[in-house]
């Protein structure tokens, strides 16, 4: 391996799934079998994905570490790099640096607990990694609840997997759309989930925080409004986890832009508990 920390692995796109009109999932496999053999990661870690010629962009690894041989990433087309990534096809080469950052303390804190996932929009990507991680080791955990919401039907990502989780007897799934999100223009015909914002739906879901761990990811406003609800439901702040997202360039603590006070999202995060989050200055 090169001593150049900015050198990416080369990965081939082996599967493409369009989640929404502007959100896409790639399955990526190492072109070098040696890299594949050595590579490991943990739920919650992220990487820098590059479109050669466009640059690098930071996303979480959206697949579970229990599924070996590939990683998946889900991204929304926003700028130069994601636009170029979006225009790629099966067989094309993407660069990947990582895995970086810390991870969800699954063994230490999740084993033997009731696990509740709360996600909004594309925030399901980092949560999906943990969901599959937990479901692949299902007998180590008690109840599994998933509360997932999006602005409209069109903005729901991983629709097939939501259906799959919904069918499972060992998963309690609550899905919701923001008011007005079930219109036909969003491709929705006969919505069988809830209507309402995630924090409200969570509050009325009957989920309890006893012996529970919560994982929350989504738009900042959703996280902000969800944390007090979790507290009300009895989840301890130490057992409520979320991830921080900030602009990153290096991913390895050098480039100086992702820090919130002395907390470097790339090095000390991206995963942190609500208790830790409360200690940070309000600048994220």
């Amino acid at each position: 391996m090169s001593d150049n920390v900015y050198m990416p692995y080369l990965m081939k796109i082996t599967d493409i799934r369009d989640e929404t009109p502007d959100t896409r999932t790639y399955r990526l496999e190492f072109t070098n079998p040696e890299d594949a053999k050595k590579f490991t990661f943990k739920a919650g870690q992220f990487g820098l994905y590059s479109a050669f010629g466009g640059g690098e962009s930071t996303f979480c690894v959206a697949s579970s570490p229990t599924r070996e041989g590939y990683i998946e990433c889900t991204f929304r087309v926003m700028g130069r790099v994601t636009t170029q990534l979006r225009n790629m096809n099966i067989g094309d080469i993407v660069g990947f640096r990582g895995p970086y950052g810390n991870s969800f303390p699954i063994e230490e804190k999740f084993y033997g607990k009731n696990i509740t996932f709360i996600a909004g929009g594309i925030g399901l990507a980092p949560v999906r990694c943990v969901i599959w991680n937990i479901l692949d080791l299902r007998d180590k955990f008690k109840d599994v609840n998933i509360v997932y919401g999006a602005r409209t039907y069109q903005d729901l990502v991983y629709k097939h997997e939501i259906e799959e989780w919904e069918k499972r007897k060992d998963v309690n799934l609550v899905k919701t759309l923001d008011p007005g999100g079930d219109k036909a223009e969003y491709g929705c015909s006969g919505w069988n989930g809830k209507m309402g914002f995630v924090p409200t739906v969570l509050k009325e879901s009957g989920i309890k925080g006893d012996n529970g761990v919560a994982v929350v990811c989504g738009p900042p406003i959703m996280i902000k409004l969800t944390l007090p609800v979790l507290k009300e439901l009895g989840f301890a702040e130490e057992n409520t986890f979320t991830t921080l997202e900030n602009k990153m360039k290096c991913g390895i603590g050098k480039c100086g832009r992702c820090n919130v006070g002395s907390f470097y999202v790339c090095k000390h995060g991206p995963v942190l508990s609500a208790a830790e989050l409360a200690q940070l200055p309000d600048e994220y």
């Binding site: 590059s50 010629g53 700028g79 994601t82 602009k247 050098k254 919130v260 994220y284």
Partner: protein, 341 residues
């Protein structure tokens, strides 16, 4: 050991000789009345008569624009190539406040992931520093425990003894080997001139206590003083470019359809787009938030991470500021807010 001296003329010759022989030689040149440190070539107007160079020696080890890899794209796939870093580097002309920045930057670039672009350059470099002859009101190295004659980070220290020369003090094995290898350029005597007295620490008075400053910063993330301090800031980032310890960078691709390079470029926490998310959310939207980040990073965050203040008191940011934002005044205001001296 016998005294060794170096004249300005010989130093000029040496730098040009080095640059002609495959060494990346950095030295002070005079351009339009200002002095800057830059890569020397045969015609460089090298000049050693200055108070302080406008820029720092930073770009010798951390170039403003630097290739970190290159790639070729073809129908078969992508081929990525690393960048070799084998050139010897000689940096002459900085002051002790420049050299002191090197061990500080080393902490960051060696933090867990080793950034070879800085570390390898550092390893390959000989740092020849000019002890200070004068100080101005923006200088405050002593407040951070440094000295106008400080040796931190240097391999050789040159102390001015006449109009045309210095007494040579070799500080490290690297410095000793360099002086031996280029012994022809050095000499064993030089007539000293009394008009070059040594600048002492007391000539640069201590003006604040960095420990107290950190303590205040840690307890006052939200404080109106930040807005007051940064009220003139234009967010132009000149302060960060001349700073010997500012290290924030961007990574971008420069490419055509079939080939390209990836580069590391200087960036600055004081620029508005620095932290801008793709969603247009910006955690540091206001001038004061960005200026707070700059001071906080240097005086508190860096201390938390690496037990050192990331500032050497060179005062360049104050001199470079078109809006007269002055870091020494800012830190003194904080020091005062923390309860005076």
């Amino acid at each position: 050991m016998a005294d060794v001296f170096l004249t300005h003329d010989k130093a000029r010759e040496l730098l040009i000789h080095l640059s002609a022989n495959g060494v990346e030689a950095f030295g002070p040149v005079e351009k339009d009345g200002i002095h800057i440190i830059e890569k020397i070539h045969e015609q460089s107007p090298i000049n050693f008569d200055y108070f302080i160079t406008t820029n720092s020696i930073k770009e010798a080890l951390f170039p403003r624009y630097e290739k970190i890899l290159s790639y070729k794209i073809s129908q078969e796939g992508v081929e990525v190539e690393d960048v070799p870093l084998d050139k010897s580097i000689v940096i002459m002309g900085g002051h002790p406040c420049d050299a002191a920045s090197i061990p500080l930057m080393e902490k960051l670039f060696g933090w867990d992931y080793k950034d070879k672009f800085f570390l390898k350059r550092r390893e390959n470099s000989v740092v020849i520093t000019l002890a200070c002859e004068e100080a101005d009101n923006d200088c405050f190295c002593t407040s951070l425990g440094y000295s106008p004659r400080g040796e931190v980070g240097s391999d050789i220290l040159l102390e001015r003894v006449s109009d045309n020369g210095w007494k040579v003090k070799t500080l490290t094995d690297k410095g000793k080997n360099f002086a031996k290898e280029y012994a022809d350029y050095f000499q064993s005597s030089l007539e000293a001139d009394k008009k070059y007295p040594k600048l002492a620490d007391k000539d640069v008075p201590v003006q604040f206590d960095p420990k107290k400053v950190k303590k205040w910063i840690d307890g006052h993330f939200e404080d109106s003083l930040w807005e007051k301090i940064a009220s003139n800031c234009w967010s132009c980032a000149a302060c960060t470019y001349v700073c010997p310890t500012c290290h924030c960078f961007d990574i971008t691709d420069d490419a055509t359809m079939w080939s390209g390079i990836r580069t590391k470029n200087w960036d600055a926490c004081t620029l508005p787009y620095f932290t801008l998310h793709a969603s247009m959310h910006n955690p540091r939207e206001e001038h004061f938030q960005r200026y707070r980040q700059r001071i906080n990073h240097k005086y508190s965050i860096y201390v938390n991470l690496f037990e050192a203040v990331s500032c050497t008191g060179c005062g360049r940011c104050s001199r470079a500021c078109g809006a007269r934002v002055n870091i020494l005044e800012a830190v003194k205001m904080i020091d005062n807010a923390a309860g005076g001296k």
